[in-house]
């Protein structure tokens, strides 16, 4: 079942076109990996479809309705955001809130959920990412990997239709990458719909159902993951896989 579809998304910064007519369709249960060299527009694309950046053109279809990304109203934006999650490269946990409060905040403030109920959900989600022992810690008291796991719990708690991940492990020390990837692998196996921008080729290959290669603001190749890695169609993809797999 289709959850959302972004179509013909374009975006320029200072006259330089960063996204050129990019489209993406997401079905329930999909785990989509977006790969691509630095500067190819991956982050910008995720930010455009979650309205952190206003696209110059393009549409988004969500829950039976189509919206124009450029002229979208604030109320429509909030309604869709209520049902999506976003995990940032640098976590962006609320620095003045504990791990638990980071997770309850969106439930209590944005969804007017009673505190007890919100905390119950939060504890459950923190347990899922194995952070229940640190629930009263502030972000500054947590390692990068722990912060990112709390950030994932925060995104999960709102019961989103899809979670966007923007290079969730790129800011982590190598020894902390594994714990975050393993949490994400669990989510995927439980059927969570995810769009993951990543440089972790092994993760993309083993966990994702579909893989996309972005290059200079366009989608160079999109295919079911197995096909993408075993039988790439474009020379660009072949070259990209070769460079990354040989590292």
């Amino acid at each position: 079942m289709k959850i959302l579809e972004a179509a013909h998304v374009s975006k320029s910064f200072d006259g330089q076109q960063v996204l050129k007519d990019v489209s993406l369709s997401v079905n329930s249960g999909d785990v989509i990996a977006i790969l691509g060299p630095s500067g190819s527009g991956k982050t910008t694309f995720l930010r455009c479809i979650n309205f952190l950046e206003r696209a110059d053109a393009g549409t988004i279809w969500f829950d039976g309705r189509e919206y124009d990304l450029h002229s979208m109203r604030g109320s429509d934006i909030s309604r869709i955001r209520m049902r999506t999650g976003f995990v940032f490269q640098n976590y962006n946990l609320f620095r003045n809130k504990t791990a638990l409060q980071n997770v309850t905040e969106g439930l209590i403030v944005a969804r007017h959920m009673p505190k007890e109920q919100a905390e119950q959900i939060a504890i459950e989600q923190l347990r899922r990412v194995d952070m229940q022992d640190r629930r009263d810690h502030f972000p500054s008291q947590l390692s990068g990997g722990q912060q990112q796991r709390v950030a994932i719990a925060r995104a999960m708690a709102t019961d989103p239709e899809v979670i966007y991940f923007d290079e969730p492990t790129s800011a982590l020390d190598p020894e902390l990458i594994g714990e975050v990837l393993s949490v994400m692998r669990d989510l995927a196996s439980q059927g969570m719909t995810m769009v993951v921008v990543t440089h972790e080729m092994t993760f993309a290959r083993n966990v994702s159902s579909r893989t996309i290669l972005m290059e200079q603001g366009v989608i160079a190749e999109e295919a079911p993951t197995q096909e993408f890695f075993e039988n790439p169609k474009t020379e660009r993809t072949k070259a990209f896989i070769r460079t990354f797999m040989n590292r």
């Binding site: 909030s78 620095r95 905040e105």
Partner: protein
Amino acid sequence: MSERLIGILIDSFTKILVPGLLYTIPLTAISFAVALVIAVFMALVQFMDIKGLKQFARFYIWVIRGTPLLVQLYVVFYGLGQLGLLLPPFLAGIIALSVNEGAYCAETVRAALESVPKGQMEAGECVGMSYLQTMRRIVLPQAMRTAFPPLSNSLISMLKDTSLVANITVAEMFMAAQRIVARTYEPLAVYIEVGAIYLLFSTVLTYFQRKGEKALGTYEFR
């Protein structure tokens, strides 16, 4: 030191301290509280780029920071009095002090708001909170935490600035000291004494500033 002088100093100590407790402290506390409200408002309208209000805030800060507090006190008390708006001196003092301090604190709060990483607001919006909700619950509290030390310094300098209010007939500490000097002709000793009492007050404030910073330090930003 002569016995007479010691007698004067002991006698004047309560005569200065009482107006300090009755006027200087309330004047400082009330004016600073109002100044903070003004400051947060003026900082927010600039930070949020609200048309009209932002320009008003810039104008207000420009005028207030560019003119002496003493002149502002005179305008509020004698100037408005001429227009028939005769304010009680204590109230006039509060208005002038809070409007004055508000301009300085507004700049402090604005700088603190700008120091909060953009990602904090984005994260709030991504969990479904509105801009204003995220501002109130996430960004502003962090900014106030950052602004706490400079704001405490402002509070301490404001305590000292209240002495200017003697000029508009408020019988606060400094005026009490002036009166004692007029009676006793001991300016050196009595003015040092009133200075010592200001020092006592600001030392207490500094102590609370330290405690406050420690209490807020439960979450430190990296």
